[in-house]
């Protein structure tokens, strides 16, 4: 087992564990924190995968901004504790777990066997994924989507205002 693989495995375990933590913790705040952990782990992975800028964005935008927003929401709405099980549609929980497990098996089988070997991760050359390269691409080939995201954010802002204004 190569060292790469080992690192990957450890990170994967952390990520999956944190994700499960988010899934199962009764306390919403814990869930938020677990999710932050997942995101940070992913950021580390992105670094390894030659995507430093993405990793940075992941930490700042995702783990930072978005998750803070979540925390705020949790605070506003109050850290309600809701039993996962029970409720009016208690049957959904076991069914959903069963189906997701089935799906998991299928997907893992699919990605492991059905799609064949996808090729190794190439070792990133220098500058790959650097802000400069990214920026170049973003403002040339991906200018349009970039502009669209700006509109999108504007709309989201307006929408949030419309929704919450008294």
């Amino acid at each position: 087992m190569s060292i790469d693989l080992l690192v990957l495995l450890v990170l994967a375990l952390i990520a999956v564990g944190a994700a499960l933590g988010m899934l199962f913790s009764r306390n919403t705040v814990y869930s938020v924190l677990f999710l932050v952990l997942v995101m940070l782990t992913l950021a580390v992975l992105y670094l390894i995968l030659g995507a430093p800028f993405v990793a940075l964005a992941q930490v700042t935008v995702y783990a930072g901004a978005i998750m803070v927003l979540f925390l705020f929401a949790v605070m506003i709405l109050g850290p309600q504790k809701l039993a996962g099980a029970g409720g009016p549609i208690g049957w959904q929980r076991p069914v959903a777990f069963g189906l997701t497990l089935l799906f998991l098996v299928e997907v893992v089988y699919a990605f492991a066997a059905k799609v064949g070997k996808l090729g190794a991760l190439s070792c990133a050359e220098a500058g790959f994924g650097s802000p400069a390269a990214i920026g170049d691409l973003l403002f040339n080939r991906y200018l349009l989507p970039f502009e669209v995201t700006s509109v999108l954010l504007l709309v989201a802002a307006v929408g949030a205002v419309v929704l919450t204004r008294e």
Partner: protein, 100 residues
């Protein structure tokens, strides 16, 4: 040697945990988070493919997904807050007036 398959599998597992979160949790906030997790899983896949192909398009996609996620969260939380004002609950199962 690290195959893309492994990362893909990891991303799939995270994605599915996200799906499960949407399906089994009653707290609307946690469901939002689960959706975020799903998007993150997609991002991981994008980055992994970018690394496999040595092409940056995958990484660019991640930015767009992040932006979208941010926009969605903003609107989603706004909706949730609005509802919370009248209902005082984030339990998604209390919302079933519209049915049939």
């Amino acid at each position: 040697m690290v195959l893309t398959n492994y990362l893909l599998a990891l991303s799939a597992v995270l994605f599915i945990i996200g799906v499960a979160g949407v399906l089994v949790r009653r707290n609307a906030l946690v469901i939002y988070m689960a959706i975020e997790l799903m998007l993150n899983a997609a991002n991981l896949a994008f980055v992994a493919f970018a690394a496999e192909f040595g092409a940056l398009d995958g990484q660019i996609a991640v930015f767009f997904v992040m932006t979208v996620a941010a926009a969605e969260v903003a609107v989603g939380l706004a909706i949730l807050v609005t509802i919370f004002r009248t209902r005082k609950s984030v339990d998604i199962d209390t919302l079933h007036r519209l049915k049939g």
